[in-house]
Structures are given as structure tokens and as C-alpha cells.
């Protein structure tokens, strides 16, 4: 198969698989983000013990209960406010990387595709975890503000950049990277890498 033929086959198959994988992802609900959400719920109260009281996962929503409340539009300690501010993050904003990755992997028609998918899923969970931490850090910065910023070493610009990267970019960028990694040593890879090898020869 020529270069464009292999690419076309990958593209057509992946596009055909997208509705299927997205349907399965939607039906799976919280399942595909659960490992990352569980890790985030363990890490966040440990990371900022004076800011976060508890964290958990309900349906597809990851939430944290802060030690802050609001009185007259001012952020005060939860004990003074008599209630806690709860921050929520939609885990689907991150977990849609899974059906995208699945469509790319199964569109490539690789051997051991389930094993390759599982390997990639482990890394996707890691990026989902980073994404969840970034969303909560960004919300803490915007909602809680100074009490949070004074207790973290992270500058606001770093939090904003981390959010931009891990939430707006990574869920759609990491799957193609993992797919490239998984197709190494295959015919498709040889065809994709051909221009690179030629440019080296020249």
C-alpha cells in the first residue's frame, strides 16, 4: 500500500470508529475517568490541607469541598460562614481523550491492539490527573483567591498556563502522540517516517 493509501485507510477507519468509541465512552459514564479522579481526591487534600477539606467523584463530576465560605460576597473561613464552597470539575472535558485514542488505535489495525490501548490508557489517566489538578487550582485561584495563592508556591501565570495546556490542549493532543508511539515499527510508521529518513540522507 502506498503512503497516501495507508493514511487514507487510517483516517477513514478512525472517523468511522469515532461515533462508536464516543458512544461507548458516554455510556461508560464515570468509569473511564475514575482512576484519575480517585488519585486526585487523594492528592488534593494532602497537597493543600488548609484549603481543601475533602474531594470526591459523583457521576462524571469531580468535586472538592474547600475550608472557605462566603459572607457578604467576601471569602471567609468555612467555620465563620457556616457553609463550604464546593468546586466542581467536569471530568468528561479530560476523558474524551480516551475515545479519540481508541479510534486512532483501532483505526491503525495493529496487532495486540487491546494491550496497546491499555498501555496508552495508563498515560491518559496520568494526563487526566494533571488536568483535574489544574482545573481545581485554576478554580481555587479565581474563587478563593488570595487565601489560596498565599499558601501555594505556584504563581498565577503558571496555574493559567497549566490549565491552558492540560485542559484545552492535552486531551486532543496526547492521543495522536500515543498513537504515533504505538505505531512505531509498523508499516504505517515506515511510510510516515519516509520523508524524515530521506531528508537525513540528503
Amino acid at each position: 500500500m502506498d503512503h497516501s493509501g495507508a493514511i487514507k485507510q487510517q483516517l477513514v477507519l478512525s472517523l468511522a470508529l469515532l461515533p462508536v468509541t464516543f458512544g461507548l465512552w458516554y455510556a461508560a459514564g464515570a468509569l473511564l475517568a475514575a482512576p484519575a479522579a480517585w488519585l486526585a481526591s487523594e492528592i488534593l487534600p494532602w497537597l493543600w490541607p488548609t484549603i481543601i477539606l475533602d474531594a470526591g467523584f459523583d457521576q462524571t463530576v469531580f468535586f472538592v469541598i474547600t475550608d472557605f465560605g462566603m459572607v457578604d460576597n467576601k471569602i471567609v473561613a468555612a467555620s465563620l460562614a457556616g457553609s463550604e464552597i464546593v468546586l466542581e470539575a467536569n471530568s468528561r472535558l479530560l476523558s474524551y481523550s480516551v475515545p479519540f485514542y481508541a479510534a486512532l488505535i483501532w483505526g491503525a489495525k495493529l496487532d495486540n491492539s487491546f494491550e496497546r490501548f491499555a498501555q496508552g490508557l495508563l498515560l491518559l489517566w496520568l494526563f487526566m490527573l494533571i488536568g483535574l489538578l489544574s482545573i481545581i487550582a485554576k478554580d481555587l485561584m479565581l474563587v478563593i483567591g488570595e487565601p489560596f495563592l498565599s499558601q501555594t508556591a505556584l504563581p498565577p501565570a503558571v496555574i493559567a498556563l497549566a490549565y491552558q495546556f492540560s485542559v484545552l490542549l492535552m486531551p486532543s493532543l496526547i492521543p495522536p502522540f500515543l498513537w504515533l508511539w504505538q505505531i512505531r515499527n509498523t508499516d504505517l510508521w515506515q511510510q510516515l517516517a519516509e520523508p524524515l529518513q530521506r531528508s537525513r540522507v540528503r
Binding site: 503512503h3 483516517l11 472517523l15 479519540f100 484545552l168 486532543s172 510516515l192 537525513r200 540522507v201
Partner: protein, 168 residues
Amino acid sequence: MLRFIALFSVTLLVLFGVELLNPVQATVIQPFTGLLASISAGLILPFDDSVISSGRVLRDSVSGFAVSIESGCNGVEASIVLFAGVLAFPAPWRAKLAAILLGFMAIQGLNVVRIISLFYLGQWHYPIFEWTHLYFWPVLIMIDVLLVFAIYLNWLAKNTSQRAPRGS
């Protein structure tokens, strides 16, 4: 390949850093996003005269529904991914420049389709609008980036194979 990945990652980080700078946002990104809204409205107007564009907002004067094109929805991030890939890949500068210009047009062309489709999906069925906006369109835009890059690689492969006998 490791060199390509390292160059790609560094270029991506640098371009993203530049994009986030306030002067760049004010003088390039925001006016460009407004231009996208105007182009979308211009394409819709011959078929639907109830659409109005104002700044980054596309509004339906009858239903009152409006979409605001925000960061992450203007195709700039996807274009940056393509630029980083093209710049990191060893090729003549003329080929890189052509790939960047044509690729940018291809990504923005699809992005205008995304904006128009979301404008009507939002008026028709809000949950479907949200679903396609947040999950489905970002994937399609990234596939567009992959496709453009693959076409560029294919073009480079043909181009280098034609030049190889002369060069060797």
C-alpha cells in the same frame, strides 16, 4: 525521531507562551477572533439574514441565541500544533512556509464550519451543542491537523524522491 519530538515540544511551548502574552492577545488573537465571527456571519447571511456579528459574538436577532468565540475555539491552538510540527520537521523553508500558510487556511476553514454548526446546533438542541462543542469538534479539528500534516509529509516524500537522483 527523538530530535523531532524534542524540537516539536520546545516550539509548541514557545509558540503557546507567545500566544498567551497580553500584547499578542490584544493585537493579534482578539482581532483575529473577531474576524472569524465576521467571516462566519458573512457566510451565513445569504441564507439567513437574522444573524448579526459583533466583536467575537455571533447572534441570532430572532431567537436571541448567541455564541462567543473564546480562546480555544478560534483554531489558534490547533494551528500552533501544526506550525510546531512543520517547523520541527526537516524540510526546505519554502516548503515549511507553504505548509504553514495552506495548513492554517485548512484549519481555519474547518473552524468556520465548526462555528457555524455550533451556532445552529445551539439554537436547535442545547445538550447536543454542548456535547459537540466540548468533546466532538476538538477531536475533529485535531484530526484535521493530523491530516494536513500527513498530506504535507506525503508531498515532501514525493518531492524528495524526485530530487534524490539529482542530489545523490
